[in-house]
Amino acid sequence: MSIDKETIKHVAHLARIELQPNELEKLSGELHEILGFIDKLKYLNVEQVKPTSHILPISNILREDKPHVSLATEKALENAPSKKGNFFSVPKIIE
């Protein structure tokens, strides 16, 4: 599978990463190699192998429905780049 620049641009946009023209070139090569590596799976018989969704052999980790003490609002907003009253404030989202 070849990765053209448009695909890289698309993926970069989805991840909100800004790339310079030279990085586009570089990443398209690197991603190509990575996908080529993963393509090796095509040559293996994995019919009997279940897809791994978690690397640890543990399951059903749950917590009880008991409230904990939440953060104080000032604390929660402390690192916000922008706030207004008790709210986080962001550039206007237009639907």
């Binding site: 399951s59 749950l62 409230p67 904990h68 609002t73 550039p91 206007k92 639907e95």
Partner: protein, 477 residues
């Protein structure tokens, strides 16, 4: 009908757990903005989510109530997108291995029952709330991370009314399960709809529209009705339909196309490495199944069988769990084997009183013993049915006893012929036209005359006795 309407609904339901899905923050509604938040639900790096046991139990309960198959192996996935109401830049949801699939829900229409398929019920988390002001959007993360279920129906619904019935039925069952408030106004139940039209008999589905922003069941029905008309017009004009998302505008009573970026929906789902898989074995399923309450349909059948109700009456009474419980206790305590009289009072006068007050039956705080006593007075012909209805209204408003209200209102029914004859005589004098009509064979005229006597006696006359007396009096003449 030239076109067939095809509708599928997607319901998002907030579970009524005390705490959020992946952290111990409270789910209390209406708290000060950003007060129910912590590093986990704010998406701080390095924090680890752990799922709520109660949420999983409720989800399985609900899935079982809809006849879904619980998947033995289920996991959480990340749905990636950027939006300010989503602090992690992904929503924890389920993709290829949802909690459950292949359920159904029966709706009842004039044409009888219809089975609507439920494709899947899966677990996810809610996003925050945005408030738009001039120049900025404000974010409140209190709602972020509240456990949600997404309930996806098959495109089995063929009219806006069926969609409405599906939602009503869904809500009724969820109320019975007590797993959610189901309050659309508070946003604990939200519904999006997919709708398309196709020529009747066509195999392929038409181009669909996704409808959002409906804030009530009626809103869903209205938006769908609008869409049926809009799409019909387009198809009739041979215009090309485009797949789009439209928002329901209550004020305008119209759906409006939402601006979206082409190809923006690229969520790149992948398994969430922060959460382990869930193995839901048979013993867990049967344990939860054993806790399922009697559901509306079963209750309806039992009411029909045990108390001799008609299916129609039973259906009205079971639609709300609390109402059904109130009704059943009234029916049980009502003396005698024949419960018809009590049932008639419940779904007749009492339900009207409730509707008038925009309340549910059980919210009227009516003492069932007073209702039973009131029906007794009517049965013994101590008061007229008409007077009894007004006593019922006062019972609800004042909390006094039926006996006291009847005495205070001087409502004892007059069945004594001597006491009635004078009034009857006056009515006959005043309504010569009706009298001659009656003599000419118009039986309706008698009803009118009885009505006049009732009026003059302030509803206290016994209509049966009055009818008989008038008949006799006019036969004599």
């Amino acid at each position: 009908m030239k076109y067939q309407t095809v509708i599928g609904l997607e319901v998002h339901l907030q579970l009524n757990t005390k705490t959020k899905a992946f952290c111990g923050c409270s789910t209390d509604f209406g708290k000060a903005p950003n007060s129910n938040v912590c590093p986990v639900c704010l998406g701080f790096p390095g924090t680890l989510p752990v799922y709520n046991r109660q949420a999983l139990n409720s989800a399985i309960k609900l899935a079982l109530a809809f006849g879904c198959q619980i998947q033995e192996h289920t996991k959480f996935d990340r749905k990636n997108y950027f939006y300010p109401d989503l602090p992690k830049n992904y929503q924890i949801s389920q993709f290829d291995l949802p909690l459950s699939r292949n359920g159904y829900l029966d709706i009842y229409s004039q044409d009888g029952p219809k089975r609507i398929g439920i494709t899947r019920v899966h677990l996810e988390e809610d996003a925050g709330k945005l408030i738009h002001e001039t120049g900025v959007s404000l974010v409140d993360f209190n709602r972020t991370g509240i456990p949600l279920l997404e309930i996806v129906s098959e495109p089995d619904l063929n009219s806006p009314q069926e969609a409405f019935d599906y939602l009503t039925s869904l809500k009724s069952i969820i109320e019975y399960l007590d797993v959610s408030d189901c309050d659309m106004e508070k946003g604990s139940l939200r519904c999006d709809a997919n709708i398309s039209l196709r020529l009747c008999g066509a195999g392929e589905l038409g181009v669909k529209t996704e409808l959002k922003n409906m804030n009530s069941f009626k809103g869903v029905k209205d938006a769908l009705t609008f869409e049926v008309e809009r799409q019909t017009r387009l198809l009739e004009a041979s215009q090309k339909m485009i797949q789009e998302t439209r928002l329901w505008d209550v004020e305008k009573g119209a759906t409006i196309a939402m601006r979206t970026k082409e190809g923006a929906k690229d969520y790149r789902y992948f398994p969430d490495p922060d959460l382990t898989v869930f193995i839901i074995d048979q013993s867990m399923v049967s344990h939860i199944k054993a806790q399922l309450p009697e559901l509306p349909r079963e209750k309806m059948r039992r009411f029909v069988k045990e108390y001799g109700l008609t299916e129609y009456d039973a259906k009205i009474l079971v639609s709300s769990k609390n109402d059904a419980e109130f009704a059943e206790s009234c029916i049980q305590d009502y003396p005698g084997k024949d419960k018809k009289e009590m049932v008639n009072w419940l779904i007749g006068p009492l339900l009207s009183e409730a509707n008038l007050r925009k309340r549910k039956l059980h919210e009227l705080n009516l003492d069932k013993n007073e209702l039973i006593s009131l029906i007794g007075f009517v049965g013994r012909q101590d008061i007229s049915h008409l007077s009894a209805k007004s006593v019922l209204s006062q019972l609800i408003d004042t909390g006094k006893s039926a006996r006291d209200l009847i005495q205070e209102g001087n409502l004892q029914q007059i069945s004594n012929a001597d006491a009635l004859l004078e009034v009857i005589e006056t009515v006959i004098q005043e309504n010569a036209k009706s009298v001659s009509d009656f003599k000419a064979g118009k039986t309706n005229a008698l009803m009118y005359l009885v009505g006049q006597v009732m009026k003059k006696s302030s509803g206290k006359a016994n209509p049966k006795v009055v009818g008989e007396l008038i008949r006799r009096r006019l036969a004599d003449a």
